[in-house]
Symmetry: C2
């Protein structure tokens, strides 16, 4: 049996004004008619059935999951009472499963990434699942880098593969690396042995439970309690309140001995800012991404328009700009400053406090 | 008696989306709490009473004049059934007056200009009125140029003044010039004898009537008919339909023999585009003009924000841009391309036709 565990806890502020505390990035339709989390579930179809999808999200977003993914099994929607990073998140899902399904393959995925080539994605996931089943190891997907990116963690693999499953080479992992400086990122790119850490993990339920027992016993103790409870909301709440906040990378992956990586290249993007949305969107010849809006473009190129109101939009003489309108706000953003949108949200919070 | 004749017929398209066919520039509050036409009337107070103000506008805008200037005498609001340029516009006002008030001083002003220094403006108008009364000539106000502007017509004056009224030198006009090329505009600026044609004229009613009789007899004939009619809407309509379309500059000023000019410098601006609005508006230290809106500025300078909705606006990393929002539209404009807004309106008209 294959189980997906979708981590949907993020409260991303880089997509203001479209993303808000009430509706963060993973629930937005940034591309096409489906939200990122809907696309994440859909992407697995044929390999993992919707009834075998677990979604872990903030308590406040459970209603959004119910609305956007109505076919999920309600016992598989976990509302976190507070954010405790990825290790407790994954542990709670494993605790739901391991009494009944210790041999199930668990595919852990972030809810808010974009993957362009679905067939290649599924091929890689199947290869990783075979690796997890046959090697009984913890498997991760490493994205082949195409630039010296300093915003991601890296995975260093061994030079030669240890196996080939589903026509994909599988490597042992030498080590994980935090976000590097640019010079180091350039060396990583040149060496050919480094891959981007995608945050996608595949393992048998029993294997990750064993890893928690060995490397994070404090969390393992809570998993045991949750597994033997009725798994009601109060049991989930107790679990999260008692777990320390720690990432799966730092808590387990960097320490575990049997870790494999499947190098992959399937048009992966973590959609980190409006700039990424512009890069990924359909564009006209002048590089303008305007979606379904009525936009009049005069001497305008490389822009992104995302408006809610159905108003007529005109861009005159502007390049490389995002114009985002919601019911409450308008953002006009130099796309090269897309990371700074976070500071706008900080400023709005500050203004709200002083009111 | 002093009478103001305010020409308010323009359908300006350069202030889209704030200006529309339904509400053109002269009725907009681009600066402060009053519209440009309200400011034009207010500017004359102390010299010309509101009950002596004639407004000539398109028929479609009469209700706007009634609403914005409720103290005017309703017989002094003339609705043009069609635009016929400035000569018929001025002729219709003169026809209302000349049977009863041939000796009145008539001050003709565009409704949509901005004048910063009111005291100096009134001083100049009083000087021009004295000139018109004592010399029985046609008087115009010439703005002292401060740059080689190619967008205005110029007035060339004689080297020496012929008189001084109200402490202002008054000159005879040598000739009027259409919008020059840049090289020529530079020569004009250097010579010191050239002034910008402000479109402000002062004369006795009898003097301009005589000028129409002499230089535009076809219009004079219609003036006689209108003057002896009951001056009902149908009489006004007949007048306009029978008049040729011609400007007062071309039809009379360039041909008349006794024309004087009062050189002036009172912070005049014809508010030709959003760029002019930005130049004239109150700005913060970084050159942002944001009015009363809630605007979050991150690394943003030299911008203009004019929004109708009360939404939160954020500008991130953008410079020299206007963001204008109305109930129907949003404009994002490079201020150096402010003239191109006209083309947006053309494009909208084209789109509407093909629907």
């Amino acid at each position: 049996m294959n189980i997906a565990v979708i981590m949907a806890g993020g409260a991303g502020t880089r997509f203001w004004p479209k993303s808000t505390k009430e509706k963060p990035k993973q629930f937005l339709r940034l591309f096409g008619k489906k939200s990122l989390i809907q696309q994440t579930v859909e992407r697995l179809s044929g390999f993992i059935d919707e009834k075998n999808v677990i979604v872990i999200t903030n308590n406040d977003y459970v209603h959004l999951v119910n609305r956007q993914l109505p076919n999920l099994d309600s016992k598989y929607i976990i509302g976190e009472p507070l954010a405790r990073n990825t290790a407790p998140c994954i542990a709670s899902a494993a605790a739901l499963l391991y009494r009944d399904n210790p041999e199930a393959i668990m595919v852990v995925l972030p809810a808010d990434h974009r993957i362009a080539e679905n067939d290649r994605f599924l091929k890689v996931i199947k290869s990783a699942s075979q690796t997890a089943a046959e090697k009984n190891s913890l498997v991760t997907i490493g994205i082949e880098p195409n630039r010296p990116e300093t915003g991601y963690g890296y995975i260093r693999r061994e030079a030669a593969p240890v196996a080939t499953f589903n026509n994909q080479d599988v490597y042992r992992v030498k080590n994980f690396t935090e976000k590097p400086e640019l010079a180091r990122a350039r060396d990583f790119l040149k060496s050919g042995d480094y891959l981007w850490n995608s945050g996608i993990f595949i393992w048998k339920v029993s294997a990750i439970v064993d890893a928690f027992r060995q490397y994070l016993p404090e969390i393992f103790e809570q998993m045991e309690k949750l597994a033997s409870s009725e798994k009601k909301e109060s049991d989930i709440n107790t679990f999260y309140h008692k777990c320390p906040s720690i990432s799966i990378d730092y808590g387990i992956m960097e320490k575990a001995e049997h870790v494999h990586v499947v190098p992959a290249s399937f048009g992966w993007n973590d959609v980190g800012s409006w700039k990424a949305v512009h890069e990924l969107a359909d564009k006209d010849e002048a590089g303008n991404a305007i979606g379904d809006s009525t936009v009049i473009l005069q001497d305008a190129s490389g822009n992104l328009v995302d408006v809610a109101s159905g108003k007529t939009i005109a861009l005159v003489g502007v390049d490389n700009v995002a114009v985002v309108e919601t019911d409450d706000a308008i953002l006009v953003l130099n796309l090269d400053k897309a990371q700074d949108v976070k500071e706008v949200v900080d400023e709005i919070d500050r203004l709200a406090e002083t009111e």
